[in-house]
Amino acid sequence: MAERTAAAGGSASAERFREARHAGSMPAGAEDVGTGRAEAPRHGDVTRLQVRVDPGTGIIRDARFKAFGCSFAIASADLVADRVTGRALASALEVTADEVGAALELPAAKWYCAELAYDALRAAVADYETKRDAQIET
């Protein structure tokens, strides 16, 4: 039955949630850190994602998240953080919400959790780019 699909336990997402490796935060004021925040107002979930970028190579060296929400939201944030680490900032947004949702086998009703993590990532990338561009301009 459909009900079953909302169960988190034993699933890929529950696994990722329980083993989350990228929880934490970095100084938001740091020049090499981009911080993004996204909310799902209908659900009340909040995800914050931070990336630390190597200014020379443009490679994301580290990614950290904090999230308030269900296990799916936390797992999504952790997976996004995981997948962008080691990537070039320029290609970070290729880690799409659909990719995350599929990898975590999110039930349809929880797809928004992957979108939330992606939105936070996009905001983090934008934040870093804004900072960087501001630095270049000055």
Binding site: A14, F17, E19, A20, A23, R48, C70, F72
Partner: protein
């Protein structure tokens, strides 16, 4: 870093996983299974087969079980109608009374915190039979005000339905006072006693109700069987929802679930004998769990009245924590949550919200359901594990960061109360 670092010694005294979700269902007592087995074996007759010993044996067993169930709630055997569970019993009571109530307009009174098995039939008669429904609110303890009930009754009121004990927050409504108020106005009273019967003493005579729903699987009996108590004197008129053959005094047809009924009877008999002792033991363990959680964590809040409460229920909101996330982290403890993610709907617990709590507090609520099987070691294990998971999830929460500190009372209080 994994969400919850393993600790050393805490799983030694308990068998995992620990079941602490006894509002959802309870373990079938092995003694109940033993009573059922002959009826799942050689005594397989249909209780309506009146012409041979297979049938007589089944009918006798049903009679005995009917007596046992009646005795548990202070009823007579002839007042027990066996059903497939409390959901059906509630539907029979509500739809049955409304269908039998010829006069229109028609009105019924219930409470916002009722189980869906009451709310949904009420909605059905409202939508399809034009029966007006008043849904009484509750105070911050989860209790209704009997005066409000009295005021809600009109000359058209056909039924009052108020649950004996809530399935999420364990709050016990003042049924005797409610029934007295309703009966004074000549209105029959139904109570959904699925969570109460077998766990606390329930006497339909003392309560003064006309109809009461009971479920076997909430009291260590089998799933798929329940009963509707139907008072004989001043019997409420009732149209059956399942017709066909006239079983159960014509109120509920269908081949009787003999093994299930036998198990229900046995569970009732065990509860009759053992309840006094187990109630005290369970309440003590429940209080121990609450004390441990409170001593280890800031920002915990009890949902529902402290005193008007089932002994085995504890419902707590943990500030800055999503209940479903907490449950998923508690991989070896079975509890449930008022979080929307844990339910079929998109909305966190309507019961906790009815207390005046925010959606956040509702989604942060966790329901612990102890039982007569719960041990002290289990309570200690659960308290420790929950405390550590809560701290870890708060650590993870951007909200806690953004306000001041998850451990800081003012912010947490504000969060919990919706400031």
């Amino acid at each position: 870093m994994p969400l919850l670092p393993a600790t050393g010694a805490d799983s030694i005294m308990v068998t995992l996983p620990i079941y602490m979700d006894s509002h959802a269902t309870t373990r079938l007592d092995p003694r109940v299974l033993d009573a059922m087995l002959p009826y799942l074996g050689e005594h397989f007759g249909n209780a309506s087969s009146r012409t041979h010993p297979f049938g007589w044996k089944a009918a006798e067993a049903v009679d005995a079980a009917r007596h046992q169930v009646a005795e548990l709630i202070g009823a007579r055997s002839s007042e027990i109608v066996f059903t497939s569970g409390a959901t059906e019993s509630n539907n029979l009571a509500i739809k049955g009374v409304i269908a039998a109530h010829d006069a229109r307009p028609c009105h019924l009174v219930t409470v916002v915190t009722e189980h869906h098995a009451v709310l949904d039939p009420c909605q059905r008669v409202e939508a399809e039979q034009g029966c007006a429904v008043t849904r009484l609110g509750v105070d911050s303890d989860g209790l209704i005000d009997p005066n409000e009930l009295t005021a809600a009754i009109t000359p058209h009121t056909a039924l009052v339905s108020v649950m004996a004990a809530n399935n999420e927050i364990g709050v016990r409504q003042p049924i005797a006072a409610i029934a007295e108020a309703a009966r004074a106005r000549g209105v029959p009273v139904h109570t959904d006693a699925a969570q109460a019967v077998g766990r606390v003493p329930i006497d339909v005579g003392a309560l003064g109700v006309d109809l009461a729903s009971v479920s076997a699987h909430k009291m260590h009996g089998p799933k798929g069987v329940g009963a509707l108590y139907v008072r004989r004197s001043r019997r409420a008129k009732l149209v059956p929802i399942i017709d066909g053959g006239g079983h159960e005094y014509g109120l509920r047809s269908g081949t009787l679930n003999v093994p299930g009924i036998v198990g229900f009877g046995k569970a009732a008999a065990l509860a009759s004998v053992e309840m006094d002792a187990t109630v005290r033991q369970i309440a003590r363990l429940r209080d121990r769990l609450w004390e441990q959680l409170r001593s280890r964590l800031h920002g915990v809040q009890l949902n529902g009245s402290r005193t008007h409460r089932l002994p085995h229920n504890l419902n707590v909101s943990f500030a800055h924590v999503d209940g479903q996330a907490l449950l998923t982290a508690l991989d070896d403890v079975a509890v449930s949550s008022g979080s929307a993610c844990a339910s079929a709907t998109d909305e966190p617990s309507y019961v906790v919200q009815a207390l005046g709590a925010t959606r956040e507090r509702a989604r942060a609520s966790v329901r612990f359901g102890l039982s007569r099987e719960t041990t002290e070691a289990e309570v200690d294990y659960v308290a420790d594990k929950v405390a550590r998971v809560v701290m870890r999830l708060r650590d993870l929460s951007p909200l806690a960061d953004e306000s001041t500190d998850a451990g800081c009372d003012p912010a947490v209080e504000e969060w919990l109360t919706g400031g």
